[in-house]
């Protein structure tokens, strides 16, 4: 084949103005006719013989087979090996959970009323009280439903119906509070007392205060409704703010949530630790000297703490460890205690308290266990720096939000620091610690009855777990869409399914008023959601922007692709021109 460059030069002679005379181009104006004929004969390129059909087909089939290999083998292999496996996730469902569309938590509380009345009277009283209650209630998701305790017991036998408020006695019948109506003859009526260790409200009334069948309202009914409303006011506020701040869909219908209440709730939520199935409590004794070198901690824990922890067992578990650290010094960067002449004591400034814990030197927060650590520090100051108090209010204990509590135990003024702290010496410290623990765990302040507060906490925790698991699902769904480069294995899809099914069950339990079951399902849902989100293989570690991809593939595929594409184009061209002829 002649080199195509020459042929091209031949074809466009007019542009080559300074072409040499020896050139045998068709511009023959300067050369003689006879010689040009001879030269033509010599230099004329013999045209190649027309391609045979066989060679044409051979060439085309070669090109085609190359393309076949590339398309049928190369592309699938490349696609298979570079594709990122992403399991299908129910994105819409997950987003619905996060937006609060799948579940509107409601908290129907059953309240049993025991009244030594005839059934008609009791029903009527119930109905009027329920009316008054519904009028008072501003927060529709949380409502109290009165029901008659069955069978109506005489007042003296009702001592046995002390419901514990921790575990449900019968799973289908979760009674939040029982009201005992007790007729009396003396004193101001109606009046009521809330039993501190059982969810029971005793209401004293005079028999003539029972509403007659014809009346639509009565002072007794109104009184009971108001009392109930008062008892559950804090719970309502807690749940309302939780619902509002997390889902946002419930436009709060709570007018009573004043600025102070909101601030107090905020303070509480700042203080309280996040929910965990297990908390780790660390009790540490720090002293700057050699004494005391021991404390009677085991019996103190046994007596002062165990009952409290046991009462929480339906909500969380606890592990406890203790330590004694001698020669523990203050951090050099805080202001050292100063002697205060007025108080005749050594004083710490309030703003230095957050630096009181010498985090660099004191061995706190051991990296053991699964749950978060709650620290309680008992500090016994040096004899010549005692008593050590907080300057602003003369207190000797403080709480560090979401971390724990500190108590300064000042030894008696005129005696030496005891070598071993007895149980009696530890009593004030443990009193403070247990109060601090209650507020760190988020136990509400009211009402006065502990079982009621515990069951309130149970509802609040169940709701917050549902919200947090839902929001994790939402976050996962958003990330799934936003980061197409991270792989999503099937286990994530399984965990998501587990989460949604448990969330649904938790929600159903809430609706039916079975709060213990709701808490357990919510806990499982939360664990599964965390597992799905923190799946270990979902690490988008090598993110390539598109220009990087081009830069990687060009040097690799460019040299291969150019001849393939050019040959294919050429053949196509010839086929098309052949068809045109």
């Amino acid at each position: 084949m002649p080199p195509p460059a020459v042929a091209a030069a031949d074809a466009s002679p007019a542009t080559h103005t300074d072409s040499t005379s020896t050139s045998t181009s068709t511009s023959t104006s300067t050369s003689s006719q006879s010689s040009s004929n001879a030269l033509d004969a010599v230099n004329a390129r013999p045209q190649p013989p027309p391609e045979t059909k066989e060679s044409l087909w051979l060439r085309r089939s070669v090109i085609l087979s190359f393309w076949a290999v590339v398309v049928l083998l190369g592309l699938p292999v490349w696609w298979r090996t570079t594709a990122i496996y992403r399991a299908d996730l129910p994105l819409q469902g997950m987003t619905d959970w996060a937006d609060g569309k799948s579940c509107k938590p409601v908290f129907p509380l059953r309240i049993a009323v025991e009244a030594p009345l005839s059934p008609q009277e009791a029903h009527h009283l119930l109905r009027t009280t329920q009316h008054a209650l519904d009028d008072l209630n501003e927060f529709s998701a949380h409502h109290l439903r009165l029901m008659l305790a069955d069978p109506p017991l005489p007042a003296n036998a009702s001592q046995q119906v002390v419901s514990d408020g921790i575990g449900s006695t019968r799973s289908d019948e979760d009674i939040a509070l029982s009201i005992r109506l007790i007729p009396v003859e003396t004193g101001t009526t109606p009046r009521s007392t809330l039993q501190p260790y059982s969810p029971t409200l005793d209401v004293y009334y005079m028999p003539n205060q029972i509403p007659s069948a014809s009346s639509t309202g009565s002072p007794l009914a109104t009184y009971i409704a108001q009392e109930l409303h008062k008892i559950f006011a804090e719970e309502q506020a807690l749940l309302a703010s939780l619902l509002f701040s997390t889902s946002g869909v419930h436009t709060a219908k709570i007018k009573s949530l004043s600025a102070e209440t909101a601030a107090e709730l905020k303070r509480q939520s700042t203080r309280a630790l996040k929910y965990a199935p297990t908390y780790h409590l660390t009790f540490s004794l720090f002293t700057p000297t050699f004494a005391p070198s021991g404390w009677d901690i085991e019996s103190a824990l046994q007596q002062y703490l165990t009952p409290l922890l046991e009462s929480f067992s339906a909500i969380s578990n606890f592990t406890v460890d203790t330590q004694v650290q001698l020669y523990a010094t203050f951090s050099p960067s805080i202001h050292q205690p100063e002697y205060d002449e007025d108080l005749r004591s050594w004083s710490l400034r309030k703003e230095d308290l957050s630096g009181f814990i010498n985090a660099a030197e004191w061995p706190l927060s051991p990296s053991i266990g699964k749950g978060p650590t709650v620290n309680f520090v008992l500090f016994v100051p040096d004899q010549n720096q005692s008593p050590l108090l907080v300057k602003e209010n003369g207190g000797n204990s403080w709480l560090i939000p979401q971390w724990g509590g500190v108590f300064i135990l000042n030894p008696p003024r005129d005696s030496d620091t005891p070598r071993i702290l007895g149980k009696e010496a530890l009593t004030p410290a443990f009193h403070t610690f247990s109060n601090q623990l209650l507020s760190l765990l988020g136990l509400p302040q009211t009402p006065a009855s502990l079982p009621l507060r515990l069951s309130t906490l149970k509802r609040v925790r169940a709701a917050s777990l549902i919200f947090s698991a839902s929001s994790t699902l939402g976050a996962l769904a958003r990330l799934y869409q936003a980061l197409p480069s991270i792989p999503v294995p099937d286990t994530v899809a399984k965990s998501v399914d587990l989460t949604t099914s448990h969330l649904q069950q938790a929600c159903d339990h809430l609706r039916e008023g079975r709060f213990q079951g709701a808490l357990e399902h919510a806990r499982t849902a939360e664990a599964a959601a965390e597992k799905a989100f923190f799946e270990r293989s979902m690490v988008g570690q090598v993110y390539f922007p598109d220009e990087h991809k081009v830069a990687v593939y060009m040097p690799l595929l460019g040299p291969v692709a150019v001849p393939l594409v050019m040959a294919a184009l050429k053949e196509l061209k010839s086929i098309i021109s052949g068809l045109r002829k």
Binding site: K274, A359, T491
Partner: protein, 389 residues
């Protein structure tokens, strides 16, 4: 109108929540003796945040090399950040969480997103929540939108931005200060898109970051300029945890004449923009200051409390009795627990890989293997039979 008056106090509750813990992630990304200064940078900052109150359990320190024990170190067991050698950064109480070849891009991203295996100790995890402020400090050799790790790999600005976005989605931080000292450092935070990040870097695109000075006895540069002047501010102005200096004052202390490059600050992601970012206290990121709640003297009668405890005790005994009675009627909760544990054991059995696509069933593989073996044996048998013919 009525509606909004109800909402307003609640909205302000959500917006102005305070932080309750501080965490610091301090990363040096370069190895080898001549990068002494990068490790000194990180150790200096480690010392500072520890002095200001962040406990070791909340500091993640990543050191890719051990300068203190490097054979070239003329002062074995020590690391200095100044030619006067007044302060041994290595000291006697440092806790390195990730060291040597553990410092990789993968481990860093796993740390930030907490996608770690179950056996990872707590000290190597970033256990933050939506009330944690995080300081992220990185130093090493970088370029336009990347930072080199260990001379072997690099993290791109996109990866970093995606990791932070995942943290934000999972509510793993309240506010974050991102600080980076490397060449073309400001490009590293240019791709961030998650809220509440305050970012600052040592140099603009196409600018180098320079070292401050060398110690001729150690033989190499001991600290970088940008870090040096940050530290100068932190050490001389922020004397104790009660300091009320703001981030704005720290940023104003940057002097381009001294740093020899143009430090950048990015406010636009921060809620409240520049004003809010500048008004944050230095201690909000470099220290560990919480609002403690001081309790007064004795609030409650102690005998009353003891009676309470006794009553609780009785209550629990009662509960237990009832619980034992009603055990049979409560299969529900046990069922839930059982399901959770079975899921757990399944998880534990699963093998991990960086990119695990899908698990094949073991049986299929074994069948293929057995078939291949049988085939080979058949071919061999057929061959020997043919040969014998």
């Amino acid at each position: 109108m009525k509606f909004s008056t109800v909402l307003l106090p609640l909205l302000s509750v959500c917006a102005s929540a305070e932080h309750t813990s501080n965490w610091a992630v301090l990363v040096s990304t370069s190895r080898f003796w001549f990068n002494y200064r990068h490790l000194a940078n990180v150790l200096s900052l480690y010392r500072t945040v520890k002095r200001l109150g962040i406990p070791d359990s909340q500091i993640i320190l990543m050191l890719p090399d051990d300068m203190a024990c490097n054979p070239r170190n003329a002062f074995p067991g020590t690391v200095y950040n100044n030619a006067d050698r007044a302060l041994d950064l290595y000291g006697d109480n440092i806790e390195v969480d990730y060291r040597g070849y553990e410092v990789t891009v993968e481990n860093f991203i796993r740390l930030m997103t907490d996608r770690v295996s179950e056996d990872m100790p707590r000290s190597k995890r970033l256990m933050t929540d939506e009330r944690s402020n995080i300081l992220v400090y990185m130093t090493g050799h970088g370029g336009n939108e990347f930072l080199k790790f260990q001379d072997a790999e690099e993290i791109s600005a996109f990866d970093l931005a995606d990791a932070f976005e995942q943290m934000w989605e999972k509510k793993r931080y309240h506010e974050m200060l991102f600080m980076i000292d490397t060449c073309q450092a400001n490009t590293m935070y240019s791709k961030f898109y998650s809220p509440n990040i305050l970012a600052t870097g040592s140099s603009e695109i196409d600018q180098s970051s320079y070292s401050h000075h060398a110690d001729s006895d150690v033989g190499v540069a001991v600290i970088d300029r940008y870090t040096y002047y940050n530290l100068e501010f932190l050490e001389t102005q922020v004397r104790d945890p009660t300091s009320k200096l703001t981030m704005g004052e720290l940023f104003d202390s940057y002097d381009e004449e001294k740093i020899h490059s143009h430090p950048g600050i990015r406010y636009d992601l921060f809620a409240g923009g520049e004003a809010a970012g500048r008004s944050r206290l230095v201690m909000d990121f470099f220290g560990n200051v919480q609002n403690v709640e001081v309790e007064g003297g004795v609030q409650k009668n102690e005998t009353e409390w003891q009676e309470e405890l006794a009553a609780i005790d009785r209550m629990i005994l009662e509960t237990r009795r009832r619980h034992n009675e009603s055990l049979i009627t409560r299969p529900q909760s046990q069922h839930v627990v059982e399901e959770a544990t079975s899921a757990d054991s399944k998880q534990a059995l699963r093998k991990e890989g960086a990119v695990r696509v899908d698990g094949e069933s073991g049986w299929a593989k074994q069948m293929v293997g057995a078939a291949a073996l049988l085939g080979c044996a058949g071919i061999w048998a057929a061959g020997s039979w043919l040969e014998s013919l």
